[in-house]
């Protein structure tokens, strides 16, 4: 796919790197000469200019891009870039700087398909590092919905059972499964749960405790602490 990323700072450049590693085509737009130069040194195609201007985004190829990521720290630039992107038929993703704004943009900004708040993602990582153990939050999907990766331990009540035998609460789904030291894949009903296997679950915050109890059993007090509100 083809992507246009506005902003080559820490969020934009890192996003561009990940996309490129996965084989996608990325053009960056950056108005600061030094930052643009740094991105060029990393072999990125960079258009120097203001990402809220149509001619600059045209030069970056917005007309035939699949999606546009407005990832600068300036909300006005980000929103204007999304408006131009939407006009050109792109999927648009906008970075915000304070979490309360998520609700406002979701409701009022029709030009923005998705909103990202980098600090929240950083907080999930920090929380996982602090908790350690056999539970890792992967992503907040919605305000009350989270994807969690559990590692089966010797104490897991479900150890030795198969996926089809795991009776999760109604507001939880198994998304992926990986045997110990193997990569994650689509969960099959006959896969058996052994110590060291990993299982990714999408769950409502209300049933997280139940899911954790079922898959991990009793954990250390730190890991058993409230998982919500990353």
């Amino acid at each position: 796919m083809r992507f246009v990323i506005i902003g080559a700072g820490r969020v934009g450049l890192r996003t561009a790197r990940v996309l490129r590693e996965e084989g996608h085509e990325v053009t960056l737009v950056e108005r600061d000469r030094d930052i643009a130069e740094r991105a060029r040194t990393a072999d990125f195609e960079v258009v120097e200019g203001d990402g809220s201007r149509e001619d600059v985004l045209e030069e970056a190829g917005v007309a035939d891009a699949d999606a546009l990521g407005a990832l600068t720290s300036d909300l006005n630039v980000n929103f204007a870039a999304c408006m131009i992107g939407k006009h050109n038929g792109c999927r648009t993703v906008m970075r915000i700087d304070e979490d309360y704004r998520e609700e406002i943009y979701q409701k009022y900004a029709d030009e923005v398909d998705e909103i990202v708040y980098p600090e929240r993602l950083g907080a999930i990582g920090a929380k996982n590092a602090l908790l350690g153990g056999s539970i890792r939050a992967i992503a907040d999907i919605a305000q009350h919905l989270q994807v969690i990766l559990f590692t089966i331990t010797d104490e897991s009540p479900m150890k030795g059972y198969t996926i089809s035998e795991v009776a999760l609460p109604a507001q939880a789904r198994i998304l992926a499964f990986g045997k110990k030291e193997a990569s994650m894949g689509i969960p099959l009903p006959d896969d058996s749960l052994e110590a060291g296997d990993r299982i990714a679950v999408l769950a409502d915050f209300d049933v997280l405790g139940e899911v954790r109890q079922l898959l991990v059993g009793v954990e250390t007090p730190a890991a058993a602490a409230e998982m919500g509100g990353a």
């Binding site: 300036d74 909300l75 006005n76 929103f79 700087d97 309360y100 609700e103 406002i104 943009y105 009022y108």
Partner: protein, 76 residues
């Protein structure tokens, strides 16, 4: 006649509630939710400059969820 534009920054996602509370104030002509580093631009139209201060300091800033305001008096 004095016209002023008040930039309002919120600390809540409840934009609708803040908007309707501000729209209901005497002297407030319009309230728009905007993209950018402030959340609302409020247009105030009153007889005396002192009334601008009254609307902003006594009423807008007293609304729960309003973090900060910045007022610009129109010169034309």
């Amino acid at each position: 006649m004095v016209t002023a534009y008040v930039m309002v920054k919120a600390n809540t996602g409840e934009a609708d509630r803040l908007k309707s509370e501000m729209v209901g104030l005497d002297g407030v002509e319009s309230v728009n939710i905007v993209a950018g580093d402030v959340d609302f631009i409020v247009k105030v139209s009153v007889d005396q400059p002192a009334q601008v201060k009254e609307i902003v300091a006594d009423h807008i800033q007293a609304i729960d969820g309003v973090e900060d305001t910045q007022t610009y008096i129109s010169m034309d």
